[in-house]
Symmetry: C2
């Protein structure tokens, strides 16, 4: 894992040979269930329906598969417009159109959108497993799941205050109070619900999400 993780070309996965794509799909599934190290190249090959050695025609090393998956993941996060990547103009527009509730709901939708794609859900899970063992993945995760969102919400609440959409207050504290909920949803539905079926997770998470926004706004005003 010498190279840095950067947003690569999304096409990287789709355009290549069918086998390469199937290797990646099998790897995502296995890595997310057993962890990167515990999942073997033989198992990946078996799922694809080829011999282990044939994988090495598509990837130099096992690690190269992991890197490809991470690059795809980051590219995809950027594409679907993950909450914290929202620019100031979009924030302003959303606030103008539908107020604080609009922005909060929109951000929730973005998360559900990401969780709603099985492939992305699996990669999130994989990253969570590797988080404790891999420094690079840990810092990536911390940036994506803690630092960036907190900064985003602090900025958003500050804008709402300036526009007098909400009363003045500690924007940083507000960001933490509001965003904590997302971490809770992440743990409860993404990590702890491997055994529950996919659609239930989406429905439940989105129900709690709506209730959260409602509760939060009632208290703040």
């Amino acid at each position: 894992m010498s190279e840095e993780i950067n947003a690569g070309n999304i096409e990287e996965i789709a355009v290549e040979s069918d086998t390469r794509e199937r290797i990646i799909d099998a790897a995502i599934d296995l890595f997310s269930r057993k962890g990167y190290e515990a999942a073997s190249m033989r198992e990946v090959a078996e799922v694809v329906g080829i011999r282990k050695s044939s994988i090495y025609s598509h990837f130099k090393k096992k690690e190269e598969i992991l890197e490809t998956i991470l690059k795809y993941f980051i590219a995809e996060l950027g594409k679907t417009g993950y909450q914290s990547s929202m620019d100031d103009e979009t924030i302003h527009k959303l606030l103008m159109e539908s107020g604080p509730e609009g922005l909060m709901s929109k951000a929730g939708d973005k998360i559900n959108e990401t969780l709603g794609v099985p492939r992305m859900q699996k990669i999130w899970r994989m990253i969570s497993i590797e988080m404790c063992r891999n420094v690079m993945i840990r810092s990536f995760f911390k940036r994506q799941m803690i630092d960036q969102p907190l900064r985003f919400w602090e900025k958003a609440f500050r804008i709402m205050m300036v526009r007098q959409l909400i009363p003045a207050g500690d924007a940083a504290a507000m960001a933490r109070e509001f965003y904590s909920f997302t971490i809770y949803i992440y743990l409860k539905y993404l990590l702890l619900s491997c055994d529950i079926d996919f659609e239930s997770i989406k429905t439940e998470a989105s129900k709690e999400s709506i209730s959260h926004v409602k509760y939060f706004l009632e208290r703040i005003k």
Copy 2:
């Protein structure tokens, strides 16, 4: 992992031979950094300063070490009085003496107490790693980290409402809004701060915790 995890005798670890204790300490450290499967018996032995085969004089299998650690963990959780194990009488007494803030701060202290013991901190981390791979650990974790605390806080808020310490409202929603923060702290400081020194984690987490209780109470009243 055929047996169920139950609160075993805490002495189980301390009373036995010194070597057995050192094996467990080494295992906790290695399992929490590399994960159970990735940490080898040879590594454990090397840390202890004996040969791998000698471990088998103290434990029948690798899995038996893991089971011993989990039993110790559960017993220790019960001993320090983890928040959700608080009985109704204690809740009432705390509320009488120092109001909602007293109960909330007390619960925060309990968490910091658990996180403050390096051994417990490491086992929490270990459990988090294994969570995604082991159904038994996953359900244990969900019970301890989601279900029980949510039920505890829902009950606590209901009591506060009855005693008119806080205005009436949706106790379940309140529990979720209040408790989400703990999950955020757990992720930020326990899982994502392996690289940061121990004392800073405690200070930072407790600072955020105090701010959280203050913010939450201001909004609720």
